[in-house]
């Protein structure tokens, strides 16, 4: 939260429309999410001129309150209300967090408003402590009737920012944000006073500093004596309230105030409790400290601690220790202004669940120039508002990276990146607005990046970005890249995945997309390839713990999901990558079919999905991919599949996948599945398409049927027929399979239709008969078959 009244201290905003300014700031890249007026209407300063007990109550009082224009009666129950106080009065119509104030009667007595405590205005937390304090007593010269918002600092405009990470280290504190506003408005920033008088006593006589960790690059401290702890001056309280912090006392408030100015967290030690030594080191394993919230914290060696040479007095950058806490009796203070390693602070704060205002800021990163400025600013304010005497000298450990970041470029480099046409003078103007120091020599700019801009690196792109955002991206003119015309291609196996996907859709299968991470229960099924699986070491939940090696379990889930929604016909597929424990990738396609593939209910005709429909889908897909006559379905027992209805699919005699009915003990429904490794398909070469003329000469068709043992596979008979039939046999089809009383118990009859033809001539009867007889003989002898009919 940024108080615009505060920003006005550093940059002149006279006459600026603050809503419009928010839009300009947002356009330039720092997102102002909300512009809020903190003003509460009908809130005035009142003077209690009379206060007598309520006649019908033992704790209420009747107050006569001067509200400038009038003197009104208000019933008040606060323990501290009395005549002679200046107070905040919410008049009828004021809307407070607790509701709207209305005139009315309390136990029979007229009450025309409410005398308020800060917590009732939403400006303080409601605690036992603030409640016991009662109404807020004002110390002000402002006359009764004055708008109390002026006193409270609620006459302010507040920007709520949603800043991208990279600007989150300079735009969340007021001076940093002032620089951003200044560059947008082309104005200059004035930094606050940080001068003070010192007494002749060197801090180094009182404290010895040792830094014994690489995680603290900069540690500066000053000492002040004889502070007077009291309430903060009005402007500090107002500002803190506006920025969302609660005023406590002058010393604590000054520490917070400086943090909100410079983004640099300070830590105040009670010097007398601390002793004469500071040793910054990594914590020891299991070392303990009681932090100032009263909790015991157990540390690890990744944490950074400030110690008094022996025991920890502060978890660096996160929270101070109770043992050196500044309290009402504190006289002498050691002010720490330091830089700790951002990553370590983030990790410590997150492990201890202690995300304090300080730790958040350390976690973003700091620059040592502001670390020093903040230290001096704190001294200035402590002298002015806490009567502090400031010792001369400074305790300092300085291992900060002081390298100056510079970038050299030509105007054309910027133009080339942004596609715009700035002149050298334009660039000078923009750099001036940014308040970046630069030198220009024969068209070459050398820019020194200010330390407050931690986000900018030494490269041209960063400068182009700064200039571009001020130039305004909305001013860019759209162009297209000057590149050669071509059409893009699907690279590698992307193409075959697209081809398979589009073929399966045209065969009536619906595409699904499922999660890669599955439960152990799912992962334990369909492990037919016997692959080890990747088990996540830290899964988010048990149902997303393992990277799947088969897509079938996911398809079965989709089937169940649709079945529960009364979708009877489920024809689905998925194409996805799988990984095994050796991180080997295999792209797979899986298909699931259940129900009617084709149907017309009122005609009572349907084609029900079964093994052979699914086999047809796969065959069609493989034919389409150019593998005609190169694949086979070989019966095999596969876990989770029906032992009599399962097969491996082979291509060029190598297994590429499985097909079958899901085992009835696993899924009762007639569900058919198949899965193919696409990686294996992708590796195969195919022949180019070549025109093949249909025969101009008549074909000769002949039928025949054999009786064979039941376990003889049709394919083996077909292969025998094909070999025996020779060149003239051009097609074989199966047109009947019979099992029953006309054949033996362990037998079946299969009928084949054979087609003979020759592309160059008409066949004569004799040669067909020779071929036909040879087929019969071969099948009879090789397959143990008997000819049933021809």
């Amino acid at each position: 939260m940024i108080s615009l009244n505060w920003v006005k201290d550093y940059v002149d905003l006279e006459g600026e429309d603050l809503k419009e300014l928010a839009v300009k700031v947002t356009k330039a890249g720092v997102n102002v999410e909300a512009v809020k007026q903190s003003h509460i209407d009908n809130l005035v300063i009142g003077y209690v001129s009379e206060c007598v007990p309520h006649p019908d109550s033992d704790h209420l009082n009747l107050c006569k309150v001067n509200i400038g224009t009038d003197v009104v009666q208000i019933v008040c129950g606060a323990p501290n209300v009395r005549a002679g106080l200046k107070v905040i009065v919410a008049l009828p119509g004021a809307v407070l967090p607790g509701g709207e104030i209305k005139a009315g009667k309390i136990r029979g007595q007229e009450s025309n408003g409410m005398i308020c405590a800060l917590f009732e205005l939403g400006l303080e937390e409601k605690t036992d402590e603030t409640y016991a304090k009662g109404i807020t007593e004002l110390e002000t010269d402002l006359p009764p009737g004055t708008d109390a918002n002026i006193y409270l600092g609620t006459d302010d405009t507040i920007y709520e920012l949603d800043v991208h990470k990279h600007r989150n280290n300079d735009c969340y504190y007021h001076i940093g944000f002032a620089y951003e506003v200044a560059c947008i408005l082309n104005k200059k920033v004035t930094l606050p006073d940080d001068d003070y008088d010192e007494i002749k006593d060197d801090v180094n006589k009182h404290i010895k500093l040792t830094v014994d960790t690489p995680n603290c690059s900069f540690y500066s401290a000053k000492m002040v004596k004889d502070v007077v702890i009291k309430e903060s001056p009005e402007f500090i309280k107002k500002r803190l309230i506006a920025a969302g912090m609660r005023p406590i006392n002058n010393v604590v408030d000054i520490s917070n105030y400086v943090m909100l100015e410079y983004g640099q967290p300070l830590h105040f030690f009670d010097k007398n409790k601390l002793g004469d030594n500071i040793l910054v080191r990594n914590a020891k394993e299991e070392e303990e400290i009681i932090t100032l919230d009263g909790n015991k914290r157990v540390l690890t060696s990744d944490d950074i601690v400030i110690t008094d040479g022996d025991k920890p007095v502060c978890i660096a950058g996160v929270m101070g220790g109770e043992n050196t806490d500044v309290d009402e009796t504190t006289k002498d203070i050691l002010i720490e202004s330091a830089i700790f390693d951002a990553v370590h602070i983030r990790e410590t704060a997150s492990r201890l669940n202690l995300k304090s205002e300080a730790s958040i800021r350390y976690g973003k990163g700091l620059n040592y120039e502001y670390t020093l400025k903040a230290l001096n600013r704190a001294c200035h304010l402590l002298q002015k508002y806490a009567d502090a005497k400031i010792l001369s000298g400074m305790t300092l450990y300085d291992n900060a990276d002081k390298q100056v970041k510079t970038v050299s470029f030509k105007t054309n480099d910027i133009n080339r990146l942004l596609g715009i046409t700035l002149t050298d003078d334009d660039v000078k103007t923009e750099l001036g607005r940014l308040d970046f120091e630069y030198k220009e020599n024969k068209g070459i700019f050398t820019v020194t990046i200010p330390r407050r801009r931690l986000d900018i690196d030494s490269n041209i792109n960063d400068i182009a970005e700064e200039i571009g955002r001020l130039y305004g991206y909305h001013n860019l003119v759209s162009t297209l890249p000057a590149v050669p015309i071509r059409r893009g291609v699907y690279v590698g196996d992307v193409l075959i995945r697209k081809q398979i996907s589009s073929r399966l859709r045209s065969l009536g299968l619906n595409e699904t997309k499922n999660y890669t991470l599955i439960s152990k229960e799912m992962a334990d099924t369909f492990k037919y390839e016997d692959k080890s699986q990747i088990v996540l070491p830290n899964p988010m939940s048990l149902d997303k713990a393992i990277i799947r090696t088969s897509l079938i379990p996911s398809l079965i889930n989709v089937y169940e999901y649709n079945k529960a929604r009364h979708v009877d016909d489920v024809m689905i597929y998925e194409i996805a990558k799988t990984y095994d424990a050796a991180y080997a990738e295999d792209s797979k396609v899986a298909i699931l079919m259940k129900g009617n593939y084709l149907s017309n209910n009122w005609q009572m005709t349907s084609v029900k999905a079964d093994f052979y429909v699914l086999k047809g889908i796969i065959s069609n897909m493989l034919d389409y991919l150019g593998f005609k006559n190169r694949y086979d379905f070989v019966k095999e027992v596969i876990p989770e599949l029906h032992p009599g209805m399962s097969a491996t699919i082979t291509l060029d005699r190598e297994s590429i996948g499985i097909i079958g009915r899901v085992h009835p003990s696993y899924k009762k429904d007639e569900v058919y599945v198949a899965e193919i490794s696409m990686s294996k398909l992708y590796e195969k070469k195919i022949k180019p398409i070549k025109y093949k003329e249909a025969s101009k000469y008549p074909e000769v068709k002949k039928d025949l049927a054999f009786v064979v043992k039941k376990d003889v596979e049709a394919n083996s008979i077909i292969n025998t027929i094909r070999r025996a039939g020779g060149r003239l046999l051009t097609d074989i089809s199966v047109f009947d399979v019979y099992v029953g009383e006309n054949v033996g118990e362990n037998e079946k009859s299969i009928a084949f239709g054979l087609t003979f033809s020759d592309p160059t001539r008409t066949l004569n009867d004799e040669e067909v008969t020779i071929a036909f007889d040879k087929i019969i003989k071969e099948v009879e002898t090789k397959m143990g078959a008997t000819l049933r009919s021809k």
Partner: protein, 349 residues
Amino acid sequence: MQDLDNILEKLKEEIKKVNDEIELNNLRVTYLGKKGSISALSSQIGSLKPEERKDFGAKLNQVKEEATALIDEKKKEIDERVLNEKLKSEDIDVTLPATSISVGAPNILEKVVEDVEDVFMSMGYDVVDGPEVEEDHYNFELLNIPKGHPARDAQDTFYIEDDTILLRSQTSPVQARTMLAAGGDKPIRMICPGKTYRRDADDATHSHQFMQIEGLLVDKNISLSDLKGTFDVIAKHLFGEDCETRFRPSYYQFTEPSVETDISCFACKGSGCALCKNTGWITVSGAGMVHPNVLRNCGYDPEVWTGFAFGFGAERLAMLKYGIDDIRTFYQTDLRETHTFDRRDDNND
């Protein structure tokens, strides 16, 4: 001669009573058959005087022709009537439901991805692919996100092996892989749609698995204005010709300058509505000029080469385009819903 005329008159009378093909055949036999009445008359020709024969013969032929014509005409009439009766009996109710012929529907995300691929391919971008189980090196290090960088906290990655192997949290590692493979001296135009994973609990707007469509163009003299022009083309293709675009400054580790890219709200045409949160604009992607460190890390000299990169969320595009408000829709195929997407979609509105 008189007989001939009488025969014809008689035939005309009798044919009127004929109802079907059988009766007509009988009639044909009666008159025109070998033993029919007309044939019988022709035998009279022998008994005529030679000078009468010619006339009689002519007359006989004329009667034969007329009789044949009468019968043929009747035949045609009967055939037509029979056919009409048959057709009438075959009448169907064309309003009864069809046999369902359905082609499968694409997954909604894939439909969007294919749409985006199509427009980019037409502009010369190749569609490439990369591993989902990825090395930290490609997912973070090469992309200017070193260990300890705050961007890593936020990304909240599924690590498989500490600090080395992970489920990719973005498709950007494919950029790095593509540049490294190209060897630092060839221009690149590519997009890489794919699955990505982050440790987000699944709800209506979060998904631990989601799809990004990443793009990269590297060449000489490529500018942010070129990115703007390219984005214009995509936005118009996806959301219609009257779609306007704007860039806002933003920040990503692997691009500099970085922008967020907005389209004018297609629901309210920019006047402000719930969809665009009354801003008139909808953010659809993040983009920027490839960071010189990334170019350098991947073998390209940033003094010579420049480029832009962009990333769309496929879910976000699909949700906007089709009015879907729950991200889980894409990952739990409800066949009652997905068939809606088995159709063309021309964006001509």
